[in-house]
């Protein structure tokens, strides 16, 4: 970038001045553009950050004080740290793995094209895609559909999800969800509510009185007459039995006997009741169906968005790294192979160290990219968890334009963001210099 040409040292004073003037003339448009588009906005932001929301009152460093005491901004800073710590490393690693693997497979180009494809989609569209992928409802969210399918393969769905005893109806519901008849007589009625009449199995018959006789007998029935009416807890006409409910006879903590209700809801145990026995319907009968993982909840939201980010950027990393890989000298690898090194050893001790400059470029590009992450977070995170997912760039937009309209605080945030990016930028510039020399 030096304005001084190699010969200028020997040139006369007038020529030097002329050279300088000419050089300045050529540089001027670039300087003007840079000044108007980069330097002036930065300067203005710094100045604006010292004023209040209206822009008329000078408040000194108050905005910075607010930024560091505001809970939402601190969350944003924390999330930015998570992003920088996790996303660039993962993108580089995934890119490296893909690049090395594609060297060895036959349909390399097709594979590369496929992995690179997400780069062709706008972030907005990608965000909308992933918002749907992560949706909690298994009927919409692909990820939860898979989770539920896997879960239900290994676990049976409960017969009556959500069924429960009427509050104050005489049945106890333990912490774990087991429903217990408190006293143990020879005949027990187990009335339940909370089952839609349409959700009853086709085999369900009108509930019958327990048969009585030896042992313990009882009836599990739906204590609700369609359209209302009837007496709670009693076996009125029109109430249906609940077939297929697992019922246990317990004595203290020990299960004495287990049976399943018949089509009319009746069941029977052979063992005679004692003072300590009770009839229990285990919680598994009424467990709510498995709904998968709450990806977009406060706990998983940032990892979920990072996942989407990796999906988009892994292809880019792969292409750059594959480029570097193609330029690597083969001799060292072949020498290592002759010396009897395994593939893993070659990858770890030769390929990766030789690729280090390329990996560095990808990593640092990703770090800068991640620091200003905005669109994915804005689109994927639903309203209730927007603050939990917040990052600095999003916070600065919301504070300035998204309702608060406090462009003073927004400018302060933008200056903070700039200060965070500058060291990485300097590092990058230094690397460029180093690689050119």
């Amino acid at each position: 970038m030096s304005l001084r040409s190699p010969r200028s040292g020997r040139a006369s004073g007038g020529a030097l001045r002329r050279h300088r003037g000419l050089a300045l003339l050529f540089v001027l448009p670039a300087l003007l553009l840079l000044g108007a588009l980069v330097v002036y906005p930065i300067g203005y932001s710094v100045a604006r950050s010292l004023f209040d929301a209206s822009g008329h009152r000078f408040v000194g460093l108050d905005n910075y004080g607010t930024a560091f005491t505001d809970h939402a901004t601190l969350t944003a800073v924390r999330n930015n740290a998570i992003w920088v710590a996790v996303a660039p490393a993962l993108v580089t690693a995934v890119g490296l793995v893909f690049a090395v693997l594609t060297e060895k497979i036959r349909w390399a180009t097709a594979f590369k094209l496929l992995v690179f494809m997400p780069m062709a989609i706008s972030f907005l569209a990608a965000g909308i895609i992933f918002r749907t992928v992560y949706d909690a409802d298994p009927h919409r969210g692909a990820l939860n559909a898979a989770a539920v399918a896997v879960h239900d393969t290994f676990n049976d769905r409960s017969t009556y999800p959500g069924a429960h005893p009427r509050p104050g109806g005489g049945l106890d519901r333990a912490q774990g969800g087991d429903i217990t008849a408190p006293t143990s007589t020879r005949v027990v009625l187990l009335p339940l509510v909370g089952v839609q009449p349409g959700a009853l199995p086709a085999t369900a018959r009108t509930a019958q009185e327990p048969a009585g006789g030896d042992g313990v007998s009882g009836t599990v029935f739906l204590d609700f007459v369609p359209g209302g009416g009837g007496h709670p807890g009693r076996l009125d006409a029109g109430k249906k039995g609940l077939p297929g409910v697992t019922v246990q006879l317990r004595d203290g903590g020990r299960t004495v006997d287990t049976t399943t209700t018949a089509a009319d809801g009746t069941f029977r145990f052979g063992a005679a009741p004692t003072a300590t026995t009770s009839v229990v319907m285990p919680a598994a009968n009424f467990a709510a169906p498995y709904r998968g993982v709450d990806w977009l909840g406060p706990a998983f939201i940032t990892p979920a968005i990072i996942g989407a980010y990796i999906w988009i950027w892994a292809g880019f990393a792969m292409v750059i790294i594959a480029g570097g890989l193609a330029n690597l000298p083969r001799e060292t690898i072949e020498a290592a192979r002759i010396d009897g090194a395994g593939e893993w050893q070659i990858f770890r001790r030769i390929t990766v160290p030789q690729l280090a400059p390329v990996l560095g470029v990808v990593f640092i590009t990703m770090v800068i990219n991640v620091m200003k992450i905005f669109d994915l977070v804005y689109i994927i995170a639903p309203g209730p968890v927007q603050q939990d997912a917040g990052v600095l760039a999003l916070r600065l937009y919301l504070v300035s334009f998204g309702g608060g309209n406090d462009q003073g605080l927004g400018s302060a945030l933008s200056v903070l963001l700039l200060l965070l990016v500058v060291p990485v930028m300097l590092l990058n510039v230094r690397r460029f210099r180093g690689s050119r020399a």
Binding site: P382, G403, G404
Partner: protein
Amino acid sequence: MRLRSALPTLTACVLLAATATACGSGGGGTAADSATQELKGQTLTIAAVWSGTEQENFKKVLDAFTAKTGAAVSYTSTGDNLSTVVGSKIEGGDPMDVVMVAQPGVIKQFAGKGWLAPLSSAVTDAAKKDYAGIWSSLGTVNGTQYGLYFKAADKSTVWYSPTAFQNAGVQPPATFDDLLKASRTLSDSGTPAFSVAGQAGWTLTDWFENVYLSQAGPELYDKLTRHEIPWTDPSVLKALTTLGKVFDDKQLVAGGGQGALQTDFPTSVQEVFGAQPKAAMTYEGDFVGGVIASELKKQVGTDAKVFPFPAVDGGKAPVMGAGDAAVVLKGAKHPEAAQKFVEFLSGPEAATVWAKAGGFISPNKAVDPSVYPDDTTRQFAKSVIDAGDAFRFDMSDQAPAAFGGTAGQGEWKDLQDFLADPSDVQGAAARLEADAAKAYKG
């Protein structure tokens, strides 16, 4: 800054003077025309947020005005950024004549900037005669009436599925306690009582406002609206506790609090009136009817019915809602015609035109209820008119946007946190107060 804000006014004055002379010279020859065509040759410009069906129906009103007065009318839909569009038009020296504004806060903001012309006495007199005082006061800033509310919305409406009610054998309740009782019976019948659209924060603010308005009364409601009492006030704690009776009961809210937080507004309507009902009721304003009719293709009045939000703790049943007011801009090129237009809107004639087309209720007492196309709309109009001065405008719409109108922060976020953990009433109130203090200060 001072110079910049003075400029448009100056420009407007010059324009105004120019138009006045133009009118004066042109009017001489046509003075003999019939009185009904007195505004012939003038083109009024009118802006509103309405698009689609609403725009079409509003145009019918504009056509009626043209037929009556001879003035041509050009309508612009501003989209959601009404303030920005109006502001840039004024700065550019080309203001519209009449703008339809929704929130009283925006009328206040416009008036504060000196953008609005006071309404003519013909309009204010009509408003006094046929409107409840509350509507005039919503359009009044510092004693001068700038806005005339032409369209009203009722947000104290609970929508229910008659099938689910019939199935459970319950009737629409009139008090909040009855509502809880009916809700438990519904949940016993196997259908959770409510689908709550917790992913959209504004539905939660509306829930709170209805409970608060009925329980604490209109005076405290107004004070809280202006943030003259803190959100940690005992009345707020009480309302949150009452609201928690619904939100905290897993049997009453479909999917529980967590499920509700993942439900957006269209889904909450679908969960009640869709193909596979998951709940018996959903609470939101009269516009739910539009979603039911257009997206779910169900018949409002038979497949979906409405009862007014019930009275809480012996208070009066709340009538809370919103509306759209007409304001005349100060730099209007046809100030006289603009006032005439607002006068036209204030009368029952204009309201009748839109009312017949549907999706409209008028705050004007003189509008004949029989013009509404169906019983449900008539019911809304009746409750707004009957409420009279007890009607209250949506509180969150009157709060600073950072508190009452932004996704993911302020009241929306705090009430969503409350929905996630309704047992923490104190904490929720403290967070609401902290956010309100910040937003009202700025």
